[in-house]
Symmetry: C2
Subunit: 251 residues, 2 copies
């Protein structure tokens, strides 16, 4: 998966459109306008850096396939992983809008990604403000997730953090149409999971095996299956409110 197919296909277009529609109601003209945004498709190998932290930036991305994560951190400190990205998620809108990326984005698996040119994005929302609202809501939800992650590392113990994260990823995977709702893929090492939860890889390991021993989850490679959802949600104090992107009153 190293060759770069540089054509945007219908699947990619539909993936982005579906996401925007789930943020705000769009008429057919607005839907059609989305196709002008995506320029080309690029592939990144697992471990590759898609976006550099603090680098000047002129575009955003749509993750089409694969699993990526955002991280921040200077030389002096250990890195912190600040978000996970699934197929359908938008990457680095901050960079596209402000001209500087505020987080690094790393491909955890091989990733297929469509680019959104910043100029095109700005002139699109100039022409179709309602689309701008859909993108904006994407950012609002991202901020909401970040706040919940602060809660996770700030107030919960290792067990609760991992339980909560499992619930979140299961939920988001289901929303993205990946897995069956009970099973989801988290293709990262314990080391990275530790950097996301503020724990060491050793403690992640220990805690995950404990959750498994108590029949809350089962690990199968890098896939996780939730056995007892009710109990897991209770353990992690999970409430999906913060993940909801719909605008009840519509436009």
């Amino acid at each position: 998966m190293t060759e770069a197919p540089d054509m945007v296909d219908n699947d990619a277009l539909e993936l982005l459109t579906r996401r925007l529609v789930s943020n705000a109601a769009l008429n057919s003209a607005e839907r059609a306008a989305v196709s002008a945004l995506m320029r080309e498709v690029e592939c990144f190998e697992a471990g590759a850096c898609i976006v550099q932290h603090g680098a000047p930036c002129r575009r955003a991305w749509v993750l089409l396939e694969g699993f990526a994560y955002g991280q921040i951190g200077s030389r002096h400190s250990r890195r912190q992983i600040v978000g996970f990205y699934l197929a359908g998620d938008l990457l680095d809108l901050h960079g596209a809008l402000t001209g500087l990326s505020s987080e690094a984005v790393i491909a955890a698996t091989d990733c297929k990604i469509a680019t959104l040119d910043a100029e095109a994005l700005v002139s699109l929302i100039e022409a179709k403000p309602n689309l701008g609202r859909a993108f904006w809501i994407e950012t609002l939800v991202e901020a909401s997730i970040a706040r919940e992650w602060i809660m996770n590392v700030g107030q919960r113990n290792a067990r609760q953090r991992l339980a909560h994260l499992c619930c979140e990823m299961a939920w988001r995977s289901r929303e993205a149409g990946l897995g069956d709702g009970r099973t989801f893929s988290m293709p990262i090492t314990h080391e990275q999971l530790g950097d996301a939860t503020g724990l060491t890889s050793l403690h992640v390991n220990h805690t995950l095996r404990k959750l498994e021993a108590q029949d809350l989850i089962v690990q199968d490679g890098h896939a996780i299956r939730i056995i007892d959802e009710a109990r897991l949600r209770a353990e992690g104090d999970f409430e999906e409110l913060y993940l909801c992107r719909s605008a009840p009153r519509s436009m």
Copy 2:
């Protein structure tokens, strides 16, 4: 400060306009349009709940005077404070756009706040998409700050957390035109500071006095003065990149 002056004055208008201009270049028509947004001014007493978490919502707010903080948390868990708000900051754009507030906002001191009607906000950005961009960037910066807070509670020890927070609040206070850049106001208890940093009030106390004993800061009531900025920044591993809201290439 319990009476509600329900008139929007020029100061309030200018505060909001200045903030939006620092996000995106605005022409005079766009600046003028901002005045249609603010409806009325409300006052909240210290401790009052301005926004309820999970409540249906039809408006956003501009903090005109005072100090507020955002928090999340269910009955079963201790609350986590996920952000501080100073004069000029926008509150609950998430609620205005999605119809549900994703965090509670509490007044730490008496606060004067202008309301932005959600309908008016949506139709304004429909008419002036460039203004929408300015609001959007506000959200992007908020998300960026939230990510840095994840870093704070996830990777740094008590000393670093408080040093970093002091640097952030000093920076933001200066940007907001409050204090002299070295001194800033943080009118909250150690308890609340602990809820923001993922520590206990006792540990906050201890750590703060240590920072003071080593001549990094001085506390004067609820004001903090930074004595040795270079050393404090080094301690907290502070880089202001994540706070920058300017779009270098403008529109």
